[in-house]
C-alpha cells in the first residue's frame, strides 16, 4: 500500500532547488535543501523562508464566530479586536490538549470580518471532526477549510521585516507583534501577520495557492543581497527548540494539559466556561503534576526525545520531549517534562541510550533574539 502524499503549491520549487523531500503529516515536505545548520544560521543572521502550507487554515464566518471560538479555546478570544492574533489551545473535556492554534480576527477591504484559525498539519482532520458537532449550537457560524485553496509562507529573521517593507500595499513594519492585516500584492489578497515559530521577528503570509510561487520568488528577490535562504522542516525544528516553543506530538498531546505543559499564559480560566474548563480549573487548584523544563546535557552528545530524565539520586522523574544540537549556542539542548516536585532541582541526569549524562536546568527559551 502506498499512501498518496499531498503536495504544497511550492512542491516543484522545492524539488528544483535541492529540497530533500520527506513525508510529514500527510504532505511531501522539504526537510532541508543544502544543510539544516546553514538554513538555521540564515534565519538567525539574515532571514529564512519556510513553506508552511501544510499547516491547516480554518476560516470562521458569521455572527457568533467569536462566541464559538471562545467556547472551544482555552484563551479568551471574544474580545479579539480586528487585526488581533492570539495563541490558544483546544482541549478535550478532560483538559487534554487536542491542538495548539493561532486565531486571527481580520477584515477584508470590503469590510467583511472573519476569524482564521491555524492548526497543526497533523491535527487538521482531528480538529475538523472535533469542531463540526460543536458547531451545532452555533447555527449562524460556518467553518470552511481553506488549507488546500491557500498557501502559507513564513519569512523569519532579523532582515525579514525590512525586506518586506515594500512588497505589499500595506507596509508590514507598521504591524505590531501578534497583529495581522489583509493587504494585497498586485491586487491579489495576502493575509500578513507578524507571528512566527523561530524566535525571530518576521511574518507569516497566507495567499491563494496559485499566488504562492510568485510571492515566494518575490521574497527571495527582496532578500537577495541580505542572504535570505529557503529553509526546511529540519531548521524549523532546531529554531523552535532554541526558542523554547512546544511542538505538538512532542511536548503536546492529548494526555497532557496546558498547565502541566507550562502554557498557563494561554488559559483564561477566570469567569469563563469552555470545553475542558472544569478539568483545567481542578488542575489549577491542585497544581499541575509536571513542569516543562529546559536542560543542557553536559558534553556534546545530544539527548533525544524519549530519553529518561533522572533526579540526582538516579530516580526516574521525567522524559525528554525534544532534544538536539543547538546550532546557535554550539552545544546540545533539550526540553523535558519532570515531576513538579523536582521543578526547582539544580541538577538532573539524562539516560542517553544507556549512558548517564549530567544535565543542568536552563531557563526557557534557550535563545532570545537581541533587542533591536
Amino acid at each position: 500500500m502506498t499512501i498518496e502524499l499531498a503536495k504544497t503549491p511550492l512542491d516543484a520549487w522545492h524539488r528544483a532547488n535541492g529540497g530533500k523531500m520527506v513525508p510529514f503529516a500527510g504532505y511531501d515536505m522539504p526537510v532541508q535543501y543544502e544543510s539544516i545548520v546553514t538554513e538555521h544560521q540564515a534565519c538567525r543572521n539574515a532571514a529564512a523562508l519556510f513553506d508552511v502550507s501544510h499547516m491547516g487554515r480554518l476560516r470562521f464566518d458569521g455572527d457568533g464566530s467569536e462566541q464559538f471560538l471562545d467556547h472551544v479555546l482555552t484563551r479568551k478570544v471574544a474580545d479579539l479586536p480586528i487585526g488581533g492574533v492570539r495563541y490558544g489551545l483546544i482541549c478535550n473535556e478532560d483538559g487534554g490538549i487536542l491542538d495548539d492554534v493561532l486565531v486571527s480576527h481580520v477584515e477584508t477591504p470590503s469590510q467583511r470580518r472573519f476569524h482564521l484559525m491555524v492548526v497543526n498539519a497533523s491535527n487538521r482532520e482531528k480538529i475538523l471532526h472535533w469542531l463540526t458537532p460543536l458547531l451545532d449550537d452555533f447555527p449562524t457560524v460556518t467553518m470552511s477549510d481553506r488549507t488546500e485553496l491557500t498557501a502559507m509562507i513564513a519569512v523569519q529573521g532579523p532582515a525579514a521585516m525590512d525586506a518586506c517593507k515594500r512588497l505589499f500595499s500595506f507596509d508590514p513594519t507598521r504591524l505590531k507583534y501578534y497583529r495581522a492585516v489583509i493587504t494585497d500584492q498586485f491586487a491579489k489578497p495576502v493575509i500578513v501577520s507578524r507571528t512566527g515559530y523561530t524566535g525571530e521577528d518576521g511574518l507569516e503570509l497566507i495567499v491563494r495557492a496559485e499566488e504562492a510561487n510568485r510571492i515566494w520568488e518575490n521574497l527571495l528577490l527582496a532578500g537577495r543581497n541580505d542572504g535570505f535562504s529557503a529553509a526546511g522542516l529540519g531548521a524549523r525544528d532546531t529554531l523552535r527548540l532554541e526558542a523554547g516553543m512546544p511542538l505538538y506530538g512532542h511536548e503536546l498531546n492529548e494526555s497532557i494539559d496546558p498547565l502541566s505543559a507550562g502554557l498557563g499564559f494561554a488559559c483564561t480560566l477566570k469567569d469563563r466556561a469552555f470545553v475542558g474548563s472544569q478539568a483545567l480549573q481542578q488542575i489549577a487548584d491542585s497544581g499541575p503534576s509536571t513542569v516543562r523544563v529546559g536542560l543542557r546535557p553536559e558534553g556534546k552528545r545530544p539527548a533525544r526525545e524519549g530519553c529518561p530524565v533522572l533526579d540526582r539520586e538516579g530516580q526516574r522523574i521525567g522524559e525528554v520531549t525534544s532534544g538536539g544540537p543547538s546550532p546557535t549556542l554550539g552545544y546540545p539542548i533539550a526540553m523535558a517534562y519532570v515531576d513538579s516536585a523536582n521543578a526547582d532541582d539544580s541538577e538532573f541526569k539524562i539516560d542517553i541510550r544507556g549512558k548517564l549524562v549530567d544535565a543542568k536546568p536552563t531557563k526557557l527559551p534557550f535563545y532570545k533574539r537581541p533587542r533591536s
Binding site: 526537510v31 532541508q32 544543510s35 539544516i36 545548520v37 529540519g234 525544528d237 532546531t238 556534546k300 552528545r301 545530544p302 533525544r304 538536539g324 544540537p325 546550532p327 546540545p332 541510550r353
Partner: protein, 133 residues
C-alpha cells in the same frame, strides 16, 4: 597518499574497509562512505569504541549523529579494535571533506577472513547508492 575509494570494500550499511597487511596480520581500516556522509550532513557527535574491543561483522561499534538523527556504525569485519581515531569526534566538520583519509574511524585486526566475503566492491556499492537515490 590518498586512499583510492574504488579499491575499497563496502558494507551495505555504508562503512568502507581498507584491507592491508600490517606486521603479517590482516588489518582493516574502517570509515564511513562519502555517500553516507553526504546523506547524514551536519554531523554533531560521534561515539567511538574502546581499544581492544572484539567485534563481530555486522555488530554496532559506535554511532554518528547529525542534527536530526542518530545513525549506528556497524563493523564490516570481525576482529579486535587495534586503533581508534581519537581526533575525529572533535573534527567532524573535516569528515565530509575527506571521508577516506582523515575520515578513518577504527582499525580492526581481522580475525575471520570469511567475514569480508559478503562485502561489496566499489561498483556494487555505487549501484546500491544509485538505487537508494
Amino acid at each position: 597518499m590518498s586512499r583510492d575509494e574504488s579499491k575499497l570494500l563496502y558494507a551495505e550499511s555504508h562503512e568502507w574497509v581498507d584491507l592491508a597487511e600490517e606486521d603479517g596480520k590482516a588489518v582493516g581500516t574502517i570509515g564511513l562512505s562519502g555517500f553516507a556522509l553526504e546523506q547524514l550532513n551536519d554531523l554533531v557527535y560521534m561515539e567511538l569504541p574502546e581499544l581492544g574491543r572484539e567485534l563481530t561483522a555486522g555488530e554496532e561499534f559506535g554511532e554518528v549523529e547529525s542534527v536530526k538523527a542518530v545513525s549506528p556504525l556497524y563493523s564490516p569485519v570481525s576482529g579486535k579494535v587495534v586503533a581508534v581515531h581519537e581526533d575525529l569526534p572533535e573534527n567532524l566538520e573535516k569528515l565530509n571533506d575527506d571521508p577516506y583519509e582523515f575520515g578513518w574511524i577504527v582499525k580492526v585486526e581481522v580475525s575471520d577472513a570469511n567475514s569480508v566475503e559478503s562485502l561489496l566492491d566499489h561498483a556494487a556499492y555505487q549501484k546500491q547508492c544509485a538505487e537508494a537515490g
